[in-house]
């Protein structure tokens, strides 16, 4: 297993820049997520690591060896495709053994390895079936089998659960994470589904328009988004972004919004102009004392919680409240926010302003 280092990686297709100077390190044994909307360059990045695309510039090191310009067959990596890409003219056993055959491994060894892998994945009973008749889940398992049988340096997965239906995806993502924990294999996983990324990843890179917006643990990214894009992309519903024109003095732990003092993590530097206050829906609560008020527009009942959409002078805002809280549409209510998890953004640059966080958490970005 190996560490993957990506340095200033850049990929252009003609005039179109797919990936712009990306750098990140995937630690040995880590489950690493590349997250972003479609067309953000995450798949291109993965394909460059795999050797299916050649980078325009930059370096890729797998286990300390520069592989950027090497063909895929010499990188000793495994790739799981979204559409599985099982060889349709071979049965399950042949599909799984195919990467071993290319190494000229002895038949007895190949058979033993295929058997071991089949046992791990629970597909021993379908080894002699053609791949065309398999269910989505079994195809996925065969694709994984073909990847793990080689014991490669790392696994690269391109939305491997994208072709499964929602219910089964949940189950498979658990299985995948278990498998990873048992094997301790370095895994780079591409997804556009932020829930999947949060649920499975040790660390996440969020990309947009070929640029890395932020990387960190799921909690860092969720609590301290580095940009407005990340704030808006992660979370369901996403972070509320309230625009205001004003000034925030450095190291002061509050700001004034519509006459209401709102506690915030103190900023390292003063800021003024068009700013944005970001607060997660679950960090909004009703408070009759507050002079920051909003009108209830709609409520969505979700069982244990409910999502309330309010209109405020600074734009719409969603709050996640316990279902038992009684709110009526049309009602005007006072709002307060959980202070330590507020993020202030500069609207112009879209970037979060650096704040002095309490020890124990580190700000990122």
């Amino acid at each position: 297993m190996a560490e993957i280092i990506v340095r200033n990686l850049c990929k252009k297709f003609g005039d179109f820049v797919a990936v712009e100077s990306s750098s990140f390190t995937v630690a040995d044994g880590e489950f690493f997520m590349l997250l972003g909307p479609s067309g953000c360059g995450k798949t291109t990045t993965l394909r460059m690591i795999a050797g299916l695309e050649l980078p325009t510039s930059g370096e890729i090191l797998i286990e300390g060896e520069e592989v950027g310009q090497k063909p895929a067959s010499q990188r000793d990596i495994a790739f799981v495709f979204q559409m599985f890409a099982l060889y349709p003219h071979m049965n399950v056993r042949k599909n799984i053994s195919y990467p071993l055959v290319s190494q000229g491994m002895r038949r007895a060894v190949v058979n033993q390895k295929v058997k071991d892998v089949a046992r791990i994945l629970g597909i021993e009973d379908i080894l002699d079936r053609p791949v065309s008749g398999l269910s989505g889940g079994d195809r996925q398992r065969v694709a994984l089998g073909r990847a793990i049988v080689r014991e490669p340096k790392c696994f690269l997965m391109d939305e491997p659960l994208g072709a499964l239906d929602a219910e089964f995806r949940e189950h498979m993502s658990g299985e995948l994470r278990d498998l990873h924990d048992r094997m301790g294999a370095t895994t780079v996983y591409v997804t556009h589904d932020q829930r999947e990324a949060m649920q499975m990843g040790d660390r996440i890179v969020v990309m947009n328009h070929g640029i890395i917006e932020q990387f960190g643990t799921p909690q860092e990214i969720y609590d301290y988004p580095a940009t407005m894009f990340v704030a808006d992309f992660i979370g369901s519903p996403p972070m509320n972004l309230l625009e205001f024109e004003g000034e925030i003095v450095a190291e002061r732990d509050y700001l004034t919004l519509n006459g209401q003092r709102i506690g915030i993590p103190p900023l390292k530097e003063s800021a003024h102009g068009l700013l944005v206050l970001g607060v997660r829906p679950e960090h909004v609560s009703l408070n009759d004392q507050s002079r920051f008020r909003g009108r209830v527009e709609t409520t969505e009942y979700l069982g244990t919680t409910q999502i309330i959409t309010l209109s405020t002078p600074n734009g719409n805002l969603k709050a996640r409240l316990i279902s038992s809280t009684l709110v009526r549409e049309g009602e005007v209510v006072g709002l307060s926010f959980r202070e330590d998890l507020i993020t202030i953004f500069n609207k112009q640059t879209g970037k979060a302003l650096k704040a002095i966080r309490k020890p124990g958490f580190s700000s990122n970005g």
């Binding site: 299916l52 067959s73 099982l86 060889y87 003219h89």
Partner: protein
């Protein structure tokens, strides 16, 4: 009547459709049946009016097809009695077999030229189609259009330049020349058909093979080719049918050693009156290879024709 169903046709509809198919089959098969039956008639029966549907089958046509015969005197005939059934057949007409005819050679030429050019068209076509499908080829669209444009006029339109070219290159009446010519004509069809098929094969298969440690060439042979068999088979059928049946160029460019069967068959008629049974026998045998080839590959042909129509 069974219950009405939105998808299942009614019995009447099935019956109508069935009769249409039978009528169509009769219309297309009748000429074939006529040729096959004429091959087994005697020359007299073959030109009888009204035409004979029922007749005493005879192998005279086939014997005439494969032999050359000369008329002999009564004395000679009496001194040289026939030793087997076909000599007997000829003997009864007052003739003797002088030797084998050229039909066998011509038939063999057809096989070499037909299958040779088909193999070459499909082989080159597959490689070109793969390159056009997978690689960044400069001026790809223009090249593809150029390849297609070679089919925009009937090939025979360029007969004179080709005739002159072949004469000065020494390709006239050679197997190599005819194989080259038919390959040139078929290649554009092969490239276009096969490109369509290869485009439909997801790129991921090759990428998976590349990652599994295979080179591109290995991936092509082990993963792409098995996927493309349907396309290759149906392309081969189309190419073979053209090369096998081609008449005009064969008349123009071959006369002796490389002459194919199509220009030869009509000449059979000239030997000793209007020998329709021999012509029909030649045509019947000539049909067989293409028929066998098509039947062997028909599973692929059917899939090939409807390929890509339905997303799997």
């Amino acid at each position: 009547m069974s219950k009405w169903s939105p998808t299942e046709p009614s019995n009447l509809q099935k019956w109508l459709a069935g009769s249409l198919v039978v009528i169509y089959a009769l219309v297309t098969l009748l000429p074939l049946l006529w040729i096959i039956s004429t091959g087994f008639k005697t020359p007299a029966d073959s030109i009888a009016y009204p035409p004979k549907i029922l007749f005493n089958p005879s192998l005279e046509g086939y014997v005439n097809l494969f032999t050359t015969q000369t008329r002999q005197t009564e004395e000679y005939l009496a001194n040289n009695p026939p030793t087997n059934w076909y000599e007997q057949l000829v003997h009864d007409k007052g003739m003797v077999i002088a030797g084998p005819s050229r039909y066998g050679e011509r038939f063999f030429n057809s096989i070499i030229i037909g299958f040779g050019s088909t193999f070459l068209s499909v082989f080159l076509g597959t490689l070109a189609a793969y390159a056009f499908s997978r690689f960044k080829v400069p001026l790809k669209d223009d090249l593809l259009f150029f390849i297609l444009s070679t089919r925009m006029m009937p090939p025979i339109a360029v007969a004179i330049p080709i005739f002159l070219m072949f004469r000065s290159l020494g390709l006239s009446d050679t197997h190599a020349g005819m194989i080259l010519l038919y390959t040139a004509v078929n290649l554009s069809l092969a490239v276009w058909l096969l490109k369509g098929f290869i485009d439909e094969i997801p790129l991921e298969y090759e990428e998976a093979a590349l990652i599994d440690g295979y080179t591109r060439l290995q991936a092509f042979f082990k993963v792409v080719l098995p996927q493309a068999t349907t396309g290759i088979a149906s392309t081969a059928i189309f190419c073979l049918i053209f090369a096998w049946n081609e008449y005009a160029f064969a008349v123009l460019l071959t006369s002796g050693s490389a002459q194919t069967a199509p220009p030869f068959i009509p000449t059979i008629i000239g030997v000793g009156g209007q020998d329709w049974p021999a012509v029909a026998a030649g045509a019947t045998l000539f049909l067989l290879p293409v028929m066998v080839f098509t039947i062997l590959l028909r599973k692929h042909l059917l899939r090939g024709i409807t390929f890509g129509a339905v997303r799997k």
